[in-house]
């Protein structure tokens, strides 16, 4: 009887051991962040720029705001939808989203919420900033791209490269 109990105990240990897999040693394909050398957090109005990768769009009055991921916002005068005219590029390193109310544009810049006055778009300027409110955000790889190395929240991500890695903490 005692032997049976011991056998049963040993057998169940065996079963539990079989469940255990060490995932630490498994390599997967994922994305590695490339950081820009210098982080320039200044908001700047520049001349229109080539599109590399458009993400979100936002419409406010006669203007279209088209987000160039992590770089800034193309501002387009759409007074005539048959002939929209790019008028400015609002450089905001690290941006992914905008929303506008009463000529104040709210955007994320890495972990910060920034308020930009666009009463006069040609002279748009930062008027407020709330730090540390988006610890998870910043510039992530494209949606649905699987594993990626969690980016350093203090750095601006310029882009991503595919590489093999041990299973990272971050994934989309």
């Amino acid at each position: 009887m005692k032997n049976t109990a011991i056998l049963c105990f040993l057998f169940s240990i065996l079963l539990f051991t079989a469940c255990y897999k060490n995932y630490d040693n498994i390599k997967v394909l994922g994305w590695v962040p490339i950081y820009s050398d210098s982080i320039d957090l200044d908001i700047k109005v520049e001349s229109p720029r080539t599109v590399t990768s458009l993400e979100r769009i936002y419409v406010f009055q006669q203007y279209i705001f088209a987000i160039e991921k992590a770089k800034g916002v193309h501002i387009i005068d759409n007074s005539n939808p048959e002939a929209p005219v790019p008028i400015h590029f609002l450089s905001i390193v690290g941006t992914t989203e905008v929303a506008i109310k009463d000529h104040y544009l709210y955007t994320d810049q890495l972990s910060e919420l920034v308020v930009i006055d666009i009463h006069n778009i040609a002279e748009a300027m930062e008027l407020g900033r709330l730090e540390g409110v988006f610890p998870n955000s910043g510039n992530l790889p494209d949606q649905n791209s699987g594993y990626f190395q969690c980016p350093d929240p203090g750095k601006a991500v310029e882009g991503w490269v595919r590489d093999s890695m041990f299973i990272p903490d971050c994934s989309i």
Binding site: I57, Y58, V98, A99
Partner: protein
């Protein structure tokens, strides 16, 4: 004595009308409009943001000094935010979450509609929500590419009315009245008549464009693709007309 009572009644009526006025006139302000993939949304004096798994609420009462007033964990896989009057609809990879907003704008969880794991923005009117599910590499393990139409009259109990599978990679979408626009990436976009949610009809499938999100209002459809912006006039739904294609120049 009677006059005094009348005065009191009069005062109450006036006060009530003033209060109701101030509520009606409570400035929605001059707010812009985002596409269905947006994670930022302004309603009244609140900015709502999807940040990681959390829904964050900022007060814009002092527009230059936004203040974080609320933060709630919703789900690890939430992606999009759609404002619907006193409600917020949040799209995630495993379902749609419905929140109401209290007088201060603070969100309160009401319910969730769970579906298969896929990528899914949502748009809605008061009674019906439209959710696209898209399976792409890395976006979970489904082969689901469809539009799900949900009855949301009872916000506590959203119900599937019908799923439509005419799409390859349904992504962003836009709703204007009874017209629904669905971006289908390299497969162009669709314009649908959704006046009968149980019998949604494809009016047009326009190919030759690659688009992932849309904004539709007042007969003007704005579509965004990785490199281009497209605009269509749909004021005559029988014959949408392309107005322009924009590539931002050097």
């Amino acid at each position: 004595m009677k006059t005094m009572r009348n005065n009191a009644i009069c005062f109450v009526i006036v006060l009530m009308s003033i209060l109701s006025c101030s509520k009606d006139a409570s400035p929605a302000g001059n707010v812009g409009q985002g596409g269905s993939l947006a994670r930022f949304s302004i309603i009244g004096n609140n900015l709502y943001v999807i940040s990681g798994p959390n829904l964050k609420t900022f007060s814009l009462t002092d527009p230059l000094n936004p203040a974080l007033m609320d933060e709630q964990r919703v789900a690890f896989d939430i992606e999009t935010l759609f404002p619907l009057g006193e409600f917020l609809l949040i799209g995630g990879q495993s379902g749609m979450h419905i929140f109401s907003r209290d007088a201060a704008g603070r969100p309160e969880y009401i319910s969730a509609y769970q579906h298969v794991q896929a990528c899914d923005p949502v748009v809605a009117n008061d009674t019906v929500a439209f959710v696209t599910l898209r399976s792409v590499e890395g976006c979970r393990f489904t082969e689901t590419n469809q539009l799900e139409v949900l009855d949301i009259r009872d916000k506590r109990n959203p119900q599937l009315i019908k799923a439509y599978t005419d799409f390859e990679n349904p992504a962003g979408l836009a709703l204007d009245g009874n017209l629904l626009f669905i971006c289908d990436l390299e497969n162009g976009f669709f314009m649908l008549d959704v006046s009968k949610p149980s019998d949604v009809k494809i009016l047009h499938h326009i190919k030759g464009v690659n688009v992932h999100d849309a904004i539709a209002r007042n007969g003007l459809l704005l579509l965004v693709g990785p490199k281009k912006l497209y605009q269509y006039d749909y004021s005559n739904p029988a014959a949408p007309r392309q107005l322009s294609t924009l590539v931002v120049p050097d």
